[in-house]
Symmetry: C2
Subunit: 187 residues, 2 copies
DNA sequence: TACGATACGGGGGACCACCCCATTTCTGCA
DNA sequence: TGCAGAAATGGGGTGGTCCCCCGTATCGTA
């Protein structure tokens, strides 16, 4: 890759991060190019689709979350590790403007997407919890990611606290007949 | 309202229904006006915002769902009635293109929105289930609607079956230690 | 230094939301 | 019935978007 191309690539990603943080995942590409100081054609050459740009912007966050999942594999309680990670993902997706849209609307065909990375990273956490017997075996990580994502997206206007509350609700269920004793542990 | 204005109003809503069913909630307003046979200015005069148009399009469905909630108040099992209704809402929102977006992105300030109507309609169902003791009392109908909506939105690409599965999951929780005996009732 | 490959960006086409205002259409009243 | 004025209409303009073509400038190498 030529030096100037690399330079422009970085300029675009930086400008896109700011614009997306301000305006969401559908920020104007034209304006991103403008504020990066490059022509719009350059932006489209580096990132043929909007999602390729979003992927570049959020790749770092996603890798961090994936690494965090690896760390949590060492935690003593498997169920706790899983729920903790899901909460962190949800909080991040709710707080970071554009991330939830980005994860949800990325084309499902692609294999190297942010969503796929997170699912792969969370899979061991889920498997461990299932093996331990604390999570139903018919649940898949993909299901949980869709759930977390949907909650992030739908609760975005209400803020991260609401999103986390709803995630807790979804993980515990709505029933009252047999509330787990661990319910009150968190707060 | 003048007769021709009413006529155009209806033409626009009809055309919008088709366009939104085909292209989603962000269908081109220009094309809706074109296929309705009116000028785009007429569309904008009748519906100043995109959400006002969506509200007109989906008002009927929403009223049906609200009425259905009223009917279910007569069902014997309160928890069953609540979950049945939530499933119907989710199925409808997942199947009907644009409805989920419409419910989620409508401005929260307005009072007469589709979302508020559904929340109000579901409230008695929830209250009955809480009074019966089968649902935790700290849950609000607004929370459940956000949950159902988020699931509809996130699972849309996978189809209504996936959405309903995820709703079941969210209502029951992920735990396996104390699975309700009613789990196997549905299927 | 000179050359070929590579990247750049101005500008244009197609589309969109939204608005102004001259014109047409309707309706209540005589 | 006929008419005046209110009400609704829609063509066309503005400013914005995405996306792409292609002549030009820049880079890396020999």
């Amino acid at each position: 890759m030529r030096a100037d191309a690399q330079r422009n690539y970085d300029l675009i990603v930086t400008a896109a991060s700011e614009a997306i943080a301000r305006d969401g995942a559908y920020a104007s590409l034209e304006e991103i190019a403008r504020s990066a100081g490059v022509g719009s054609a350059t932006l489209h050459r580096h990132f043929p689709t909007r999602w390729s740009l979003l992927q570049a912007v959020f790749g770092g966050c996603v890798r961090n979350l994936a690494a965090r999942a690896g760390d949590l594999l060492a935690a003593p309680d498997a169920l706790d590790a899983l729920t903790t990670w899901l909460h962190e993902v949800t909080a991040y997706a709710t707080t970071t403007r554009g991330l939830a849209d980005s994860l949800l609307n990325e084309p499902a065909q692609e294999s190297d997407t942010c969503g796929a990375t997170l699912v792969a990273a969370g899979e061991p956490l889920l498997r461990r919890a299932v093996d331990e017997g604390s999570v139903r075996p018919d649940i898949t990580m993909a299901d949980l990611m869709i759930l977390a994502n949907g909650i992030s997206l739908a609760a975005q206007p209400m803020g991260a606290a609401k999103a986390e509350q709803l995630l807790t609700l979804a993980l515990q269920g709505i029933g009252s007949a047999d509330r787990r004793e661990s319910v009150d542990k968190g707060s």
